[in-house]
């Protein structure tokens, strides 16, 4: 690997979001330690950030996929709320699992509808999903009759808690995943000559970091279940995008859909699938959200779609399609929630939070754009 590769690989454009997260956590950690003496880096607080970021992270992963295919989905938060509302209103009568299945089917149906309008009628995805964002929220108001709904049945409640609540020990999983990443990176380096590939330092470093976390956290380290769901989901999508023909075609469809089509890629199917994935993920997130509270408020998750998109942008996903990484989106989501968590811990007041978050997003976009332009010129 030449110095130029190093600079690209670890430059702001490629790795900026990791630096930003580390820097932010270091600053908040130092300030909390010096001002209140509280331990920002306690396992309890860090896993709490993971828990808070899990739903947005999960939806961000799906959003990244749809952005890569060159489309857009503004309706995710509304779909999540609808899915939650359907679950809460049906779970009493049908039981938890059947109600969750209905909620998922409805969410997937919205994805099919979004995709069909965009693909078949050729209307811009931004406009279509802006419409469904509003319409689905209206549907939520109809389903809930503008009131908060709650689960009364204790048996259903227990199922929800079992599904969403509780914690899972993760030391073993961290060792396994970290080990696999390091082994994979070592294998890639071993095959470097043959495969003409650059050593995947990112995977190696990530693997070492996971093993390190496992050692630091000890056997008692545990996270909430939604964190596990998000992690597994991200790993699967990451693998599919990076190592399969499906992933390659997803990027090709977003890079130039006409060229992909004329190369025999079923562009319509891929774009449609991205809509379904996005809405389906939102539906799942909505089920988790409703299960967390055992209730749903008609304005639940309002505006969350913007946080989801912000996470994808922080992760360097292109709004024009063809580029993006789900792992970095996840880190982008963590960055946003670490920031919010820091504001809480430092007791700075929520007033400044929006301002700072917005600034961070624009600064990130600026780094990607300027950094990208500089690379092209070189």
């Amino acid at each position: 690997m030449t110095t130029k590769d190093w600079r690209r690989y670890f430059g702001l454009r490629e790795a900026g979001v990791y630096y930003a997260l580390l820097l932010l956590m270091a600053i908040i950690g130092l300030v909390t330690a010096s001002s209140s003496g509280a331990n920002y880096f306690s396992a309890a607080n860090l896993t709490n950030i993971l828990y808070q970021a899990s739903l947005v992270g999960m939806m961000g992963v799906a959003m990244t996929v749809i952005l890569i295919t060159g489309n857009f989905d503004l309706s995710v938060a509304s779909v999540a709320a609808l899915s939650g509302a359907v679950l809460i209103s049906l779970a009493g009568a049908l039981g938890f699992w059947p109600a969750a299945a209905v909620a998922m089917l409805i969410a997937i149906g919205v994805g099919l509808l979004n995709g069909a309008i965009v693909q078949l009628l050729g209307i811009n995805a931004f406009i279509v999903t802006l419409g469904t964002l509003t319409a689905i929220r209206g549907l939520v108001l109809i389903v809930t009759n503008s009131r908060s709904l709650m689960i009364e049945d204790p048996a259903v409640k227990a199922q929800m808690v079992a599904f969403e609540g509780g914690r899972a020990p993760i030391q073993a999983a961290l060792f396994v995943i970290g080990g696999l990443l390091v082994a994979g990176a070592a294998y890639a380096r071993f095959r470097q000559k043959k495969d003409k590939t650059a050593t995947p330092w990112g995977a190696a470093i990530g693997g070492v970091a996971l093993i390190g976390l496992g050692l630091l956290g000890g056997p008692s380290l545990s996270v909430a279940k939604p964190v596990v769901y998000t992690a597994v989901y991200t790993l699967v999508v990451w693998f599919v995008l990076g190592f399969t023909t499906i992933g390659r075609r997803v990027y090709a469809v977003g890079g130039n859909s006409e060229a992909a089509r004329l190369s025999g890629v079923n562009v319509g199917l891929y774009k449609m699938a991205a809509f379904v994935l996005c809405s389906g993920t939102a539906g799942f997130a909505g089920i988790l959200f409703a299960s967390r509270l055992g209730a749903i408020n008609p304005t639940a998750l309002q505006g969350a779609e913007l946080t989801v998109i912000a996470a994808a942008i922080l992760g360097g996903t292109s709004l024009f399609g063809g580029a993006g990484s789900v792992v970095k989106t996840l880190v982008g989501a963590l960055l946003l929630f670490a920031l919010a968590n820091g504001f809480n811990i430092l007791d700075l007041g929520a007033n400044y939070q929006g301002l700072i978050e917005g600034t961070v997003v624009v600064a990130a976009a600026a780094i990607y754009t300027v950094g990208g332009a500089r690379r092209r010129r070189a």
């Binding site: 023909t245 004329l262 190369s263 063809g322």
Partner: protein, 507 residues
């Protein structure tokens, strides 16, 4: 001899990544003369143009403009000094009118300005071309857009006009309009730098010719002292075999029918068309731009959802989707490599393997880098693509080399029927011969080929049989050995041999 308008002395250009594009080029441009600038893909033409137009600074050497040494930092500076550049990809705003596009760069606050129309009329007179100023550019065919771009460049009152392949995407009669404009402007005392791959037009149009090869000047001469062959040799650096050798007595193709098309139609673009292609046969489609040639290829490939009719390959109906067509071993090299052929941001190897990605993967699912990379490397070698490695992103390739990638991506899977739409557009002489020879070899191995060329010479060189299209229909069929460029021009242009249609302009 009068002083030159522009003098370049020992101009060099080295890019930050170490690529040396120019290694000391001298170039003079005089008022009232047309200067031809030629060279193979990657010879340094584009770099030289960028230096002239102020888009990129020279690394070393001097540029003298009207007797004064200059160093343009931006295109606007060069423009203000009186150098206008018309780039290959026409940078017009499609949603604005012709008038608004032509005066896009002007200052002033109001969108509409009565003085503009008077200046526009003067401009039309200068160029010798009339066009409706209020038509949206999006509604114009590409030939007229090219004229709008030329008028836009002249709108600022330039003395030296640099034209980068202004005729590359034009049909014959549209080219003639550009030629007339060039001659007129030269007669008015403007200096013209005319970049082109077409040797015949360079010989016919220019006063002086400069050929670049590997960043150096390979030839500088008065056009009247050289001929096409000499220029071609200067471009390639060795004696080139002309296309004629491809035409050596070819046996009549008698293989079994491979493709049968019956009544394939699509809207107004394509009237019901029927044709057959045998195994090993190369069928050429001749016609002007907009005659329906590309539409026919897209419809056969299943890329046109609205097409009706029957397409049979090897006796079985061809599925009406691009994915189905690729699975049935049909390949298409589309007309426009930028919008239809390549995935920007993908490396050469990723572009190459896209059509037959499944074949390279474990269980059709897990990608195998080693296999894919090897295909990229093989493509570079096979078509002599000028790139450091398969790792090169296609955006960084010059036009001709990018075109080679769009051809190469079909060379690694089974192909029964190959559809080629202007496969040599923007490619230099040497590479053109490579691609034509490759097409012939593929045909000899039993592949059926339908090929579209705007250049009738190329059609005659490579095809067995030629179908002439006009207004979306096939109007004539000729064996390549039994026709001539002259006859094809007449057939395609509306003055049919049988005189069935009156001559009329086609837009």
């Amino acid at each position: 001899m009068d002083a030159p308008l522009l003098q370049l002395r020992k101009v060099e250009k080295t890019f930050p990544n170490g690529t040396v594009a120019l290694r000391g080029v001298d170039f003079d441009a005089y008022a009232g003369r047309v200067h031809g600038l030629l060279g193979a893909n990657g010879a340094g033409k584009s770099t030289l143009i960028n230096i002239l137009s102020g888009a990129a600074p020279a690394s070393r050497g001097t540029i003298v403009w009207r007797g004064r040494e200059v160093a343009f930092k931006t295109p606007a500076e060069a423009n203000a000094a009186g150098i206008a550049t018309i780039h290959q990809h026409i940078p017009l705003a499609p949603t604005l009118s012709v008038l608004e596009n032509i005066f896009l760069g002007r200052s002033g606050m109001w969108r509409h300005n009565p003085g503009e129309r008077i200046r526009f009329e003067a401009l039309c007179r200068d160029v010798g071309y009339a066009i409706d100023p209020d038509v949206l550019v999006a509604d114009l065919p590409i030939g007229k857009r090219q004229m709008v771009a030329i008028m836009q460049a002249l709108g600022g009152g330039a003395d030296l006009i640099v034209m980068d392949e202004p005729t590359a995407s034009l049909a014959n009669e549209e080219r003639e309009i550009v030629y007339q404009a060039v001659r007129r402007l030269a007669a008015q005392g403007k200096g013209i730098v005319f970049v082109s791959h077409f040797l015949d037009e360079v010989v016919a149009l220019t006063d002086q010719v400069t050929v670049l090869r590997d960043g150096r000047e390979a030839m500088r001469a008065k056009t009247k002292d050289v001929d096409e062959r000499a220029i071609a040799e200067a471009i390639v650096g060795k004696a080139v075999a002309t296309l004629d050798h491809l035409r050596e007595d070819r046996a009549v193709v008698t293989g079994p029918e491979l493709l049968i098309v019956r009544n394939l139609a699509s809207g107004d673009k394509l009237r019901p068309v029927s044709l057959q292609v045998r195994r090993g046969e190369i069928v050429g489609l001749a016609g002007l731009l907009g005659a329906g040639r590309s539409e026919l290829l897209l419809a056969v490939f299943g890329a046109d959802r609205h097409a009706t009719g029957e397409v049979m390959l090897d006796g079985e109906p061809l599925p009406r989707s691009t994915a189905g067509a690729v699975r049935a071993d049909v390949a298409l090299v589309p007309e426009d490599r930028k919008t239809q052929g390549l995935i920007p941001g993908f490396e050469i190897w990723r572009n190459i393997t896209l059509p037959h990605l499944d074949d390279t993967a474990f269980g059709r699912l897990l990608t195998r880098r080693e296999t894919e990379w090897a295909r990229g490397a093989a493509a570079i070698e096979k078509l002599r693509i000028k790139a450091p490695s398969p790792e090169t992103v296609v955006d960084e390739l010059s036009g001709g080399n990018a075109q080679k990638v769009t051809v190469a991506k079909w060379l690694f899977g089974a192909v029964k029927l190959l559809l080629l739409d202007e496969p040599t557009a923007g490619i230099d002489v040497g590479a053109k011969a490579d691609i034509l020879a490759l097409t012939r070899r593929l045909a000899e191995s039993g592949v059926g080929v339908i090929i579209v060329f705007s250049e009738f010479e190329e059609l005659l060189a490579v095809c067995d049989r030629i179908l002439v299209m006009r207004d979306g229909a096939i109007v004539a069929e000729r064996a390549a050995s039994a026709t001539s460029e002259h006859e094809l021009v007449l057939l395609a242009g509306g003055r049919g041999a049988r005189g069935e249609r009156a001559a009329h302009p086609i837009h």
